[in-house]
Symmetry: C2
Subunit: 339 residues, 2 copies
Amino acid sequence: MPELMNEPPQLRKDPIIGRWVIISTDRGKRPSDWVVDPEKKTGGFCPFCAGNEDKTPPEIIAHRKNGTAPNTPGWSVRVVSNKFPALKIEGELNRRGEGIFDLMNGIGAHEVIIESPDHLLELVDLPVDHIRDIFWLYRERVVDLKRDMRLKYILIFKNHGKAAGASLEHSHTQLIATPIVPKRVIEELEGAHRYYSFKERCIFCDIIRQEMQWTSRLVVSNPNYVVFEPFAARFPFETWILPIKHSCRFEDISYEESYELAATVKESLQRLNNALGSPPYNFIIHTSPLQDKEYFEYHWHIEIIPKLTKVAGFEWGSGFYINPTPPEDAANALRAVQL
Amino acid sequence: MPELMNEPPQLRKDPIIGRWVIISTDRGKRPSDWVVDPEKKTGGFCPFCAGNEDKTPPEIIAHRKNGTAPNTPGWSVRVVSNKFPALKIEGELNRRGEGIFDLMNGIGAHEVIIESPDHLLELVDLPVDHIRDIFWLYRERVVDLKRDMRLKYILIFKNHGKAAGASLEHSHTQLIATPIVPKRVIEELEGAHRYYSFKERCIFCDIIRQEMQWTSRLVVSNPNYVVFEPFAARFPFETWILPIKHSCRFEDISYEESYELAATVKESLQRLNNALGSPPYNFIIHTSPLQDKEYFEYHWHIEIIPKLTKVAGFEWGSGFYINPTPPEDAANALRAVQL
């Protein structure tokens, strides 16, 4: 096979366990780019700051003051395409084989939600109604993108801090729409389905009931959301936020609920920051696939993973995590935070 | 539930996707231990160096000069228990439920293979016959531990460099024996089984044939081993080493084969070091479960993952990896290295 540089990205399926991988070319690095470089300094210029709107791809949607034009200042939250997308919207999927291997073209979308015009503010620093606007724009993008029948799943996630994989300091969220349902999502859907077949109840609803009754892993709850440390947490201080009312799709959230969600996320991050000294973290929305059918046994939620440990060979090799801090102890510490 | 500190470690099963997690207590950290500390310096003392044998748990087995006593100098490779084990050999499994959750005690073994008495030498620096002795000791430990019928799987892995999770500089390998078969291993076994059911051939043997014929992802091969970059590599320069002759168990290796394996591993690491400037890496032996039956459809192998990227929210949330370097380009660069 020829070199892939300057060709469209590919989605490749691991023939053994069925995991799909994006082989990216546009955001590609040459092998020599990987040579370890001990000193790397970030420049002072930031394309996400107000006034630099022409340094990003054009605005897809934004929350703006009335009367301000797209791609000019005046926005509070702004969505643009990723300048170095992992997947692209143009083209055909072209599913095919190559010897014993399976692949298709890397069709999809890769967008960036710039959370504020101010370089120095983090998500946790923003007022609740500003965070609500961010979540509402997530929802608007999902509703728009799901009309493209080629797209099967949308993953919304945030990498905060270098150790959590953020390449730009300015606070932002990413959205990746994929033409297949990712393996981890299928595993969750199958798990929820198995439980429902056995019990005729949602497993997430059962977990919520148990955590709210036992309270040892509970961090905080309010009328619509509950925050707890999961029983089998993979990581220290892994924190889940679930809607108490059963709902399989994030995008079915109401405008009122999105305010309460924003307040819950802000409080959760404040507690984590306070307990842990503002660690890097990843934040991921787990929700249903876009097309096909309604996955009524599923229950959307948010997982926050502070980046405190290095995932090492054991975890990669086995999918078997070692968590040195019991979630009950983490919940204790998070509940004890005075806000 | 009470705090877990000072109680035995637990194995906990994620109720949704079935993943087991060790909730460790002995190697436990209190929540406050996680507060981010910008400056940490390692002390000068190393318990793995020759002369400090009394600073580790007692020797389980070692490769030694004739006549030298256990737990004294004179060894070239030395196996001891991990001082802070994730799992312990004493006790009962005690599988049980807790509300809707499942758990059992953290029974198992956690050992360290100290690869040389010299603090400054890395695995790649050692002569081939010394590396052979290391691999042969891996095998001896597997053969010994598999007599304990409670143990279902042994994972042998190496974290090289801080970014890959190594907590001690002195070159070493870890061995963890678990009372369940890890999820990732089950996925590989099931994948190999599905393919065998369909084709009546081993999928790994088919991949070897194809890679040796196409050569675009091939790094190097010799009569008994082949080294290539996998088609759906999750990471840049992910490198697999497979025995060409079908074999489902690492521990069935012969003494002669272990010499050739050592030479192959050394050459692979030399090529990676040369191409990438000696990056941190993880090295994992993927092999069959210990008990039950013979997994004849499986094919043991080694995966080497240089730590070049940070795994971020997208990968955690989806099990969907973005690899910015096509494996064909990585193979090209590795083949081009002059040794």
